[in-house]
């Protein structure tokens, strides 16, 4: 049984991510938000369930669909929002934008806009932990589309060969951009890909935050004990389009309606009584999450733009001034 603090954290994060994404979708529709937005409605249970099993300073990599990972990794919500708005107080000082929200101080190695860029980078962090006898866990998030990319396979092969404890976490959300997973898979199950590397693999219900948490926690222990990488596949459904503005015509209405029955937020609310949570508890979580989201967007609205010449900063640690 999870303690109340953990449950509070889990439910708070689930609602915060959902409300945050609904809000940014609405704003994107009504007024302009600079750049590309990839929201993660439907991924909340995976973001929160995995992160609930991690320690605060564990290493992760994320993707361009990163809002949920960043929120669940306890990045500052005001700074996340400011970053999406391109303001100078953004979490990346306005140099990243929605696709690159990332806070190294929270163990985020990066949110990469290139599909499958993350697995090799996390392999490197995990290698460093192994060499230095470190204790941080290393987890790479990627989507089902990434499993066809060479960078994923190269990282998987090296991780197994070098006996590196790390988790490859695949969010199988049904679509690689606009291409359906059931069309692009060569194997019966996505996680069968791990067999090529003789790598342990487990599947969990990506809509059930508690299942995600349990599967991840167990995998982290096994990975560390056996000094081996483990592949995790969590199936869910991407209610969001590939990006905001996507017509989503390739997602059949019937499929969406079916998926709603397993909406991760709905499942978490249904599960609440199993964890001795009351309706009042749920209402409190919702209210707190909504307040945090509202105040983050209010904050971002008032933040200053960076100056144009701020673009010149922090390309290098050291570079001679006269040629920069």
């Amino acid at each position: 049984m999870l303690d109340k603090d953990k449950l509070d954290w889990i439910y708070n994060k689930l609602f915060t991510i959902r409300f945050f994404e609904e809000r940014i979708k609405k704003i994107a529709k009504e007024k302009s938000v600079p750049g590309y937005l990839h929201t993660c409605i439907g991924s909340e249970a995976i973001c929160v369930g995995v992160m609930a099993a991690l320690n605060k300073d564990d290493w992760i990599s994320s993707t361009y669909r990163n809002h949920g990972h960043a929120i669940a990794k306890d990045c500052n919500l005001n700074q996340i929002t400011s970053e999406i708005y391109g303001r100078s107080t953004g979490i990346c000082k306005g140099r990243g934008g929605s696709m690159h929200i990332s806070d190294f101080d929270r163990g985020m190695l990066g949110s990469f806009g290139i599909v499958a860029a993350g697995p090799p980078v996390v392999l490197g962090a995990a290698l460093q932990e192994k060499i230095n006898n470190g204790s941080k866990n290393s987890v790479s998030f990627f989507g089902d589309g990434a499993i066809h990319n060479g960078a994923f396979h190269e990282a998987a092969g090296l991780a197994k060969l070098w006996n590196i404890p790390m988790l490859f976490v695949c969010e199988n959300n049904g679509y690689a951009e606009a291409t359906a997973t059931d069309w692009h898979l060569n194997t019966k199950e996505l996680s069968d890909i791990s067999k090529a590397y003789d790598m342990l693999a487990y599947r969990g219900n990506g809509n059930d935050v508690f299942d995600v948490f349990n599967v991840t926690k167990k995998a982290l222990e096994e990975s560390r004990n056996k000094q081996t990488p483990i592949f995790l596949e969590f199936k869910n459904y991407r209610f969001s389009g590939q990006y905001e503005g996507d017509t989503q015509l390739y997602q059949p209405q019937e499929e969406i309606e079916n998926a709603k029955k397993n909406d991760p937020i709905k499942l978490a609310i249904d599960n609440a009584k199993n964890h001795n949570l009351t309706k009042d508890d749920i209402e409190t979580y919702k209210k707190n999450a909504l307040d945090a989201v509202n105040s983050a967007f209010d904050f971002a609205d008032t933040q200053p733009w960076p100056k144009g010449e701020d673009a010149l900063q922090e390309v290098y640690v050291n570079y001679p001034k006269e040629v920069n």
Partner: protein, 338 residues
Amino acid sequence: MPIKTVKEAINDALVQSFENDKNVILMGEDIAGGKGREQYQGTQDAWGGPFGVTQGLFTKFGGERVRDTTIAEAGFFGAAVGAAMTGLRPIVELMYVDFAGVCFDQMMNQAAKVRYMFGGKQKVPMVVRTVVGAGFRAGSEHSQTLYSLYTHIPGLKVVAPYDAYDAKGLLLSSIQDDDPVIFMEHKRLYMTSCEVPDDLKPIPLGKGKIRKNGSDVTIIAIQRMNLFAEEAAKELENNNISCEIIDPRSYSPLDEDLIYTSVKKTGRVIIVDESNPKCSLASEISSLISENCFSDLKSGVVKITAPHTPVPFSPPMEDFYIPSSKKIGDAAKELLNA
């Protein structure tokens, strides 16, 4: 003072860096060769990379720090980025720079950009050691230089030493540097030698070198082209033409002041680069000189480069492809109307 080949000087710099900093590790294909297998413990390192540059490191420092990889450049280059961000100082070997294509994303989009686009908290202290250059009859996919490919990318530093002295001093610096550095080793220079002091200090990145003082014409020579520039300069003395030879050594950052000072003195410039001509180091340096020294120039900047073709295999064709001391000499005579 000990005489060392470029190959030995690089090996020395690696050993010294491994001894000085326990965070330095090396990853690459065949860098330990068969040495990683248990039954070969105690035997000589099998390869030490295709040119034997890393031989002995596995024996000295062990398989934890000297890691053979699979033929998976994207995998171990990305791993170097993650390892560098989290506290190691990885050196990765790109066996030939021509293989840049299979791991360019890791350099261009991750190594070069994580510090900038994630708000300045990360640093990526990694070094890519890679082998460049024509003249080995190695064909189109094992002979390029591609200097400008990496120099173009903000966030990367690019270094290309000519002699053993610079190779050691610049590699020591590159490994200590907190930014990602592409360290280019020319395959035709590995066995060339010069005096290298054992206690050589790191040479700062971004400082060029005057290899020969002169007054009539500035020859800016890129890596192996210094050899031909020196040959040409010697020959040109017979024509009473005095050449100043500048070896920039580092292309990002580039020692522009050293170049401008020389150009202002001589008013004539020849740039020699064995790369393809379009958007090359030669064209970049030429454009900088035009922007900054226009009124000092007595004639247009002359570029001597390879043609706009892949590197050919057959010896007569490859020899034609590579700039020569004769071409440099002819160009200087024309500039001086000699």
